[in-house]
Amino acid sequence: MKVTLLKENLSKGLNIISRIVSTRGSLEVLGNILIKTEKGRVCLSATNLEVGINYRLGAKVDSEGAITVPARLFSEFINSLPNEKITLELNGDTLISKSENYESNIKGISADEFPLIPEIKTGKVMDIKSSDLRKAILLAAFAAAIDDSRPVLAGVYLKVDGSKVTLAATDSYRLAEKVVNVKSGKTKKEELILPAKTLLELARILGEFKEDLNVGVYLSDNQILFETDGLDFISRLIEGQFPNYRQIIPESSDTKTIVPKEELLTAVKIASLFARENANNIKVSMKSKGVLEVDSGGSQVGQNKAKIKAHVEGKDGEASFNGKYIIDVLNNLSAKEVSFEISGKLNPGIIRTPNDKGYIYIIMPLRN
């Protein structure tokens, strides 16, 4: 194999794929990335056996070949080089990288040892814009459960129905749902669950592309493929049935407040400092005279109270929530204003943004 490529391009490719590399696998080759020539381009691949990724970049290919090299060493090496042309050449199982001033030999493992990344090119489900997909993931996936004790809840529910694509996640204490409209007419009706961690990784990768790309989504044999501009991102699905969460979304609320997002975020963050010992229990009171109060409640370290001017509709009301769950959603919303709705102490609270009808976030209240 002999190829010449730009350091910039190679760096970008390595950034995209190298987070997928398995760090604790017992099989050495899983800690490597695969470099291979493919139709006049260079294809980089990595997998941790849950997710597989291929990324192709432009290069001058003088002779064909393939090799795997340790991901960490190779990407740190390439990232440290100045921006110039790099030539990669293979001598047996050793990869020789040459740039103007640097030459290095990296010992690799034969490409035959590398897991085969499955190819899925049938069963197209939909096309979606990368910006829409990324935003939907960021708004929903954080609400998924962190541990795997209930596998379904560690996933994000994805439903495609006509032009409507729904992403939802819940850890059984809070729930986030985002509905996106996709333009392309041809879609299949599908319901599936994807690992939340994997989706967040996909969102990160999509963020690496400057342009807004079209992402094709394919489904087959328990695997899902996201494909765009030289990138294949393949993940397993989570088996099982997602809980019927629609039933817990309240139809109406007693009290509704519209408040500047940053002010609410700051108030809850400060209250959380005082509520740490108290399971992060924070009381929110809405007064019809136009005030939203955030109160940490008393604990050993002291107490904190904040008042925010707000637009309040409906009757006075108060409820307690885990402050972390409020902070999580506010951190992910980009709107200037948010609406916060409650219905007494025992019913769930709702957070949305006034100008995005497709988003809803629901938090379970804490009983004191």
Partner: protein, 449 residues
């Protein structure tokens, strides 16, 4: 034709021809789901494994299976585990209802294995006391022995017994809150609760149970905050006359870095131990297991297995399974020749053969951090004498060497030195628990290293 046994036998063979990393990466979570008309279907956990097995190992897998079960036409690989899938569906059926209106009411879940009941436990001389104690606790929880501390080596039935208590109580009174955890799970839940700032929920969960059963308590050793939390939980339950049952692979005294206040509390109630079963019990266990699987083998086979596998009930069961599988797959009647043929390779442990007096000396010296030359020297310091005697005892027990030979190995001239050493260690072991534990540790190392 049993899918599980066939696959186990095949994995056993494949393991020998592959590197460990390759084997664990590609064969973990695989199963045979069906074998019909010469077509074997193997389920694999993910599509990567599927591709790999299909493209790289297919010929090897096929020839291995053919070697065990006779010719087959082809193998297909399917993603997803049949049994797991079913379980998950059931679980989610329960989850269908998400109730956000109800606030933090941590529920106590049973996580007992319904298989573990007293009826399926084979009682023998060495576990009689432990069984009786557990049954008594199951009759009157919180009254008779509190806490009950069960200890014994791996694979002897501790988990079976303590879970049987839970299952028995649950049968009598389904409303009773019974919590079974391993100390490892207890620790990780505590860490998670600290991380999520929900320590109160954690405390409530464990302090409101009627019976708390903790397995593998020895892993609490060295975890200070977990020990403290467990201490408080223990006190709360004990004061309220709630039953606590603990299991460990060694007595409280022999758990290093266990806080004194916990140790004394563990010894408060009743300590019972389970020893490896003697030959009659081993035979009875084999008969029962075979019966539960719907088989009856000639007595001489039970005798053969029981004579050759002495320390671990799990291994005993494994050997039995192997014989039954082999007989079924080859359509033969299980007889002595078959048993010897199947287990021959298993029992002729090459490592055991390779064990020598020198190896024992160096392992013992290693364990006590002494140079091996000290053990065969004339030195008579206390620190050297005991390890030397342990080494001689082990040579007698493990290698069955003659006393004169042992003395020579240990650099002594007189065979009475070895006789004295062996009888002394034997006597001491009855009284001195840490010594017995140390010797067991050395013994394990002999066969691992």
């Amino acid at each position: 034709m049993d899918n599980k046994s066939l696959w186990q036998a095949a994995l056993g063979e494949l393991e020998l021809s592959l590197s460990k990393a390759n084997f664990t990466t590609w064969f973990r979570g695989t199963n045979i789901v069906s074998q019909e008309n010469g077509e074997v279907v193997i389920s694999v956990p993910n599509v990567f494994t599927k591709e790999w097995l299909e493209n790289k190992y297919n010929t090897e897998i096929k020839s291995t299976i053919e070697h065990i079960a006779g010719p087959i036409s082809k193998i297909t690989y399917k993603v997803g585990r049949a049994d797991k899938l079913k379980m998950e569906m059931k679980e989610t059926a329960k989850e269908e209802l998400l109730d956000f209106a109800a606030a933090d009411a941590p529920e106590v879940l049973y996580n007992l294995n319904p298989k573990y009941v007293f009826e399926s436990f084979v009682v023998g001389e060495t576990n009689k006391l432990a069984t009786a104690a557990c049954q008594s606790v199951a009759k009157k929880p919180g009254v008779s022995y509190n806490p009950l501390f069960v200890y014994g080596g791996v694979g002897l039935g501790k988990t079976h017994l303590i879970q049987a208590i839970g299952n028995e109580l649950k049968k009598k009174n389904p409303k009773k809150k019974i919590e079974y955890v391993t100390s490892e799970k207890f620790t990780s839940e505590l860490i998670k609760s600290i991380f999520d700032k929900k320590t109160d929920a954690f405390k409530n969960k464990y302090r409101k149970v009627d019976v708390l059963i903790v397995d593998d308590i020895q892993f609490l050793g060295g975890k200070e905050q977990t020990q403290e939390e467990f201490f408080h939980t223990f006190n709360a339950l004990h004061q309220a006359n709630k039953q606590v049952v603990l299991a460990s692979d060694r007595p409280p005294k022999a758990i290093p870095t266990l806080e004194e206040r916990l140790r004394s509390r563990f010894e408060w109630g009743l300590l019972v131990d389970i020893q490896p079963p003697e030959i009659e019990t081993r035979i009875a266990i084999l008969q029962k297991k075979a019966y539960l699987r719907g088989h009856e083998l000639p007595l001489e086979i039970y005798d053969y297995i029981a004579r050759n596998i002495q320390h671990n009930v799990r291994e005993l069961e494994g050997a039995l399974n192997r014989i039954i599988a082999y007989a079924e797959l080859n359509n033969k009647k299980p007889d002595m020749a078959l048993a010897q043929n199947v287990l021959g390779s298993l029992l002729a442990n090459p490592k055991r053969k390779a064990l020598t007096g020198k190896k024992i000396l160096s392992s013992v010296a290693d364990f006590f951090d002494l140079p091996a030359s000290d053990l065969i020297s004339k030195k008579r310091d206390k620190e050297i004498v005991l390890p030397r005697q342990i080494a001689m005892y082990l040579m007698r027990e493990e290698l069955n060497l003659s006393y004169p030979k042992i003395s020579r190995e240990a650099g002594k001239n007189d065979h009475t030195t070895a006789m004295h050493a062996c009888s002394k260690i034997e006597k001491e072991m009855d009284k001195d628990e840490p010594l017995r534990h140390n010797i067991n540790l050395i013994r394990e190392r002999l066969y691992i290293g």
